[in-house]
């Protein structure tokens, strides 16, 4: 046991360095995935087939092939076309494109789910389609799909471990290096699991906090019933 603790002290900072790279990969890919996913969602809602169909193909291609295959293809094939990416950026590219396909479906559903009556009201005030998106659809849809997006972020955080296959020095790869020195696979993988758990758990809490902060008071615990009867009384007197 004491051997384990001394080894842990020696290798833990090294594992954390890997975790830092994992977080970097996750945050950059999440940001990219959100932007591309949103654009793809809007495009898929277009009435123009020339916009809609290619995007449908895009979504299917990235969803229907394994992420690891996508990463290997990007890392090993792009250089053939003269595009040489480091493992890190190849990883970011693969994760971003893959995530954007999934998120576009999340966003598309959330956009469709915004009350058509409210959309009509916005249009009837004279808003342009862009203004309707900016002032009504995005604020409502983004908050509505925050929990789902949070879920995808956690999945992404863990999917980053696949990037170790294209020699990015993230958490899992650092763990393998530690094991090749210490031969203590059980304790090292256990540490890795704990670090992943801490990162995921913290993200889940953060998303929950974000959701509560961005959601208007109406969804916080407002006691509506007693208020309603009061209001009805006031209404009658007016």
């Amino acid at each position: 046991m004491s051997v384990f603790w001394s080894e842990l002290q020696e290798y833990f900072p090294f594992l954390l360095m890997g975790a830092k790279v994992t977080l970097e990969l996750s945050f950059i890919s999440m940001a990219g995935g959100m932007v591309l996913g949103f654009l793809a969602a809007i495009g898929r809602l277009s009435e123009n087939r020339l916009i809609r169909w290619p995007l449908e193909a895009y979504v299917e291609i990235w969803r229907d092939t394994p992420l690891i295959v996508q990463l290997l293809l990007i890392y090993f094939s792009l250089p053939e076309f003269g595009i040489v990416l480091s493992g890190f950026w190849a990883g970011v590219l693969g994760l971003t494109l893959n995530l954007s396909a999934y998120l576009s479906e999340v966003y598309r559903a959330a956009i469709i789910a915004v009350d058509p009556g409210q959309k009509a009201a916005a249009i009837s005030l004279g808003m342009s389609p862009f203004q309707v998106y900016r002032r009504l659809i995005v604020p409502q849809a983004f908050v509505a799909c925050l929990p789902t997006q949070g879920g995808y972020f956690i999945a992404l955080l863990k999917d980053c471990s696949l990037v170790s296959f294209i020699s990015v020095n993230e958490l899992l790869r650092h763990a393998t290096i530690v094991i090749s020195n210490t031969f203590d696979s059980m304790n090292t993988y256990l540490m890795v699991a704990v670090i992943y758990f801490c990162m995921s758990f913290t993200s889940a809490r953060c998303v929950g906090w974000l959701e509560r902060t961005l959601t208007p008071a109406r969804r916080k615990k407002v006691v509506i019933k007693p208020i309603m009867s009061e209001l009805a009384e006031e209404d009658k007197t007016l």
């Binding site: 009350d115 005030l125 109406r218």
Partner: protein, 260 residues
């Protein structure tokens, strides 16, 4: 500029179908400044569609619509042409619509709902917009609820906020699509009184409703809409007291609202 005698709203032979179903089959309608025109008639007769076509929430298939001095769509012998999106948006902002289901923006407070159109569409600075919005909210007696969210309001209050949202745009015309149909009976009169007040203050109103008492108390002109046409129009007394056609007579009798 429109002349005083020209109608603020002029529809000529407006058609609209959904697939095989013809909903509007040649509607002619003139609405003059300060008029309170009420559209009545059986469900499915095209009243709401007509209103939505005037606001271009639905695009008509044929016909000419002139609103507030602008041609929104134009029909000549061979061509049907709809004005640019920009022209339509400009017109919508000057004849906003109040809906049966209120359709308040649920992520915004009452005040935010009312300043939304002012800031986003009319580009009025926020400070000024708030002053205008508060005036509008005061006119519908909802100023005390300005920081509430729609979910915290009763139906009647939501509809009054929706009226304030339209009113704040300072429009010459407001369109009402069954404004009291979704309200509990005891809340109806509050909303109707407000609409009545707007009319007496000179605003031009076009109202779709199923409530005969509301028509009789507020309408200047009543149009009976059925089978995709305006079958008859006249004053309250003419339509309810002495309808010219059998169709209208039957409808008035079955709704139990004929004047005695």
């Amino acid at each position: 500029m429109t002349q005083a005698s020209a109608p603020v709203l002029h529809l000529e032979q407006v058609y609209k179908s959904y697939g095989e179903t013809a909903v509007l089959r040649g509607v002619d309608l003139k609405v003059f400044q300060g008029d309170a025109v009420f559209l009545i008639g059986p469900s499915g007769g095209g009243k709401s569609t007509l209103l939505r076509c005037i606001n271009f929430l639905e695009y008509p298939d044929a016909g000419t619509i002139t609103a507030l001095g602008e041609k929104l769509c134009n029909q000549n012998r061979t061509h049907f042409e709809i004005a640019s999106e920009k022209t339509l948006r400009h017109a919508r902002a000057r004849m906003p619509m109040v809906f049966q289901q209120f359709n308040l923006f649920s992520h915004q407070t009452v005040l935010e709902n009312v300043i939304e159109g002012l800031i986003t569409v009319k580009k009025i600075p926020k400070r000024e917009a708030i002053i205008l919005a508060r005036t509008a909210l005061d006119r519908v007696h909802m100023l005390q609820k300005q920081n509430h969210y729609p979910d915290q309001l009763s139906g009647g209050q939501k509809q009054r906020v929706a009226i304030a949202r339209a009113l704040a745009m300072d429009p010459p015309v407001i369109l009402f699509d069954e404004p009291t149909s979704a309200l509990d009976p005891e809340l109806v009169s509050g909303v109707q009184t407000i609409i009545q007040d707007l009319s007496s203050q000179g605003l031009t109103l076009l109202v779709v409703t199923h409530d005969p008492a509301f028509v009789q108390s507020t309408a200047h002109t009543v149009c009976f809409c059925g089978d995709g046409y305006i079958l008859e129009s006249g004053t309250v007394n003419e339509i309810y007291g002495n309808p010219r056609t059998e169709r209208v007579r039957k409808f008035i009798q079955s709704s139990g609202a004929h004047l005695t």
